[in-house]
């Protein structure tokens, strides 16, 4: 039994491919917990960042700097009454949020956090991720239709048209990245997520910078399409609050609504991790080509610890700036404790065995976090598109651009 558990730690396969069900289960639980924490953190971060972009403070009351606000919100949502409209279709209404959540979480089966840190490695990894995440549109349509109400139905119709349109541009961009994986001696490409990152490792370049500017254009197409695919601003027409109240989830409340919320953010993380895997080198550290060598490896391996120490320093600075009134005593101590935890994690990340194991996961998560920050930045910057403009961008700009990039990538792959 102990051998069974430790055998995975020495192997260079993912638990799913190695057939180690115990570790596969451990990874599933870890990913589930990590995602839930990430969604809760995103809730706080989004409100804070948006607030600072608009020169406001954002949540400040619950906990120091509003850090406990998402927990208060989650509690409120769980306690709230769960209302189902009397004219709704009960079965469909009931299953729609489940479907959305299940599809949003299932895609993480193949997300590679490191060469061995994934639940499994599928032969059809990218195809699986695109396919399963495209199923979430069904949940949205079901929710909109089952509510038996006008705004949700409009939201569902918009959402289905939008997601089907942008899926095509997305697929074309993905194909041009998959094409780049075939540029080796055998000429065999791969769809497996781990294989794609390994191809980038073998070619010593992130695919976003391959065949400049072709890779960058494909990445741009994907970046636009993924925002549309997750129904986020500026493509948030299905839930445009000034036009459709809340779009497809107008009639949902309480726990079911929070399931939609959870699914939206985990879908954002999922498409971001596709983008990171395909174009930003997955778990590779930055500058694999220009700055290679032992010294640089060492320098970059110190970054995770330093990042956490920096976060701890910011937290300690905020602790020092807390008001001195006795009312804030508990909050000050709490914030200081939080900073101490961050500092401890930072110090732990300098220990060589921990460092080597966690480095991949750190770089992957850092890139995904950057992509998530971009999402919030878009929301703070761009005004919402009109529906015909949205369709025009999808079909008349992104689709021809995608086909052009695909053809040019194929030509460049033959020539160079």
């Amino acid at each position: 039994m102990l051998d069974y558990i430790t055998s995975y730690l020495k192997s260079d396969l993912t638990p799913g491919s190695a057939g180690n069900l115990f570790w596969a289960f451990v990874y599933i639980v870890l990913i589930f917990l990590g995602l839930s924490v990430a969604v809760i953190a995103m809730n706080w971060l989004e409100r804070k960042i948006l607030a600072h972009m608009q020169v406001r403070l954002g949540p400040m009351r619950v906990g120091p700097h509003g850090l406990l606000q998402p927990i208060a919100d989650a509690l409120k949502l769980l306690i709230k009454e769960d209302i189902m409209p009397s004219a709704a279709d009960p079965w469909v209404f009931w299953s729609a949020p489940l479907l959305v959540v299940i599809t949003a979480f299932t895609v993480f089966v193949v997300v590679p956090f490191g060469p061995t840190h994934a639940v499994t490695d599928m032969n059809i990894g990218v195809l699986f991720m695109l396919g399963v995440s495209s199923l979430s549109v069904l949940g949205v349509v079901m929710a909109g239709w089952a509510s038996n109400s006008h705004y949700p139905l409009m939201g569902a119709l918009r959402s289905s048209a939008q997601m089907v349109s942008y899926e095509i541009a997305m697929g074309l961009a993905v194909i041009s990245a998959v094409l780049m994986t075939s540029l080796n001696n055998e000429g065999t490409g791969t769809l497996s997520m781990i294989g794609i990152v390994q191809a980038q490792q073998a070619q010593h370049v992130w695919f976003a910078f391959k065949f400049f500017p072709l890779g960058l254009i494909a990445f741009f197409i994907f970046a636009v399409a993924m925002v549309a695919e997750t129904n986020r601003a500026p493509f948030d027409l299905p839930e445009a609050e000034s036009e459709l109240t809340a779009g497809f989830h107008t009639e949902y409340s309480g726990f079911r609504w929070s399931l939609f919320f959870l699914a939206e953010y985990s879908a954002m993380i999922a498409v971001s991790s596709i983008a990171v895997t395909l174009w930003l080198g997955g778990w590779m550290r930055p500058f694999p080509n220009a700055l290679n060598g032992e010294t640089w490896d060492l320098v970059f391996s110190l970054v995770p610890g330093l990042t956490f120490l920096l976060l701890a320093a910011i937290t300690f600075y905020s602790t020092a700036r807390m008001p001195k009134h006795p009312y804030f005593k508990v909050q000050t101590i709490g914030l200081g404790g939080f900073g101490a935890v961050l500092a401890l994690i930072g110090v732990a990340l300098f220990i060589p065995p921990v460092r080597d194991r966690v480095q991949d996961i750190f770089w992957f998560s850092a890139k995904v976090a950057f992509s998530m920050y971009m999402y919030i930045w878009y929301r703070g910057t761009f005004p919402r598109y009109r529906f015909d403009q949205l369709m025009k961008v999808g079909w008349k700009v992104l689709l021809p651009l995608g086909i052009g990039v695909l053809v040019l990538t194929a030509i460049a792959g033959i020539l160079f």
């Binding site: 195809l127 495209s134 069904l138 349509v141 769809l191």
Partner: protein, 169 residues
Amino acid sequence: MAPVATTFFFYFLSALTVLSGVLVITRKNAVHSALALIVSLLGQAALYLMLYAPFVAGVQIILYAGGIMVLFLFVIMLVSIEKAQKEEQFNQQWLVGLAAALALGALFVLVYVKGRALFPDRGILMPEQSNTQQVAVLLYGNYMFTFEIASLLLLVAIIGAVVMAKKRI
């Protein structure tokens, strides 16, 4: 890795597929039928995975469940179905349907009985790892011409759909 509990998964998935197939043709509400069909299609995709055809399973999920069925749902919502729901759902052809089903069933039983020798389980299990590459080599090698014709078919279908559905071209 070696497959786990093949028998259980086969019976579970095929029961799911067939039962939701029954729901497709018996539900009054077209949306319910479409949702049952999606379940059936996903069950089939899982059966493809059990048959070591991961690429076809992926295509099935992304094209059928994600693309075609969304089109169906979109159209069902576009043409209001409240009126259609109150009307008679079945036409008068149940006798013909029954006869056709019986004839087909008899045919299949005949094939099953006589064909045991025809379908031996020679069992060349496909190595799962290179399935996509093998499919690609065949698709862009032996079947290149067919592939081009398929693309032409899709072009015709796109134009046809636009001509049919647009009010003024």
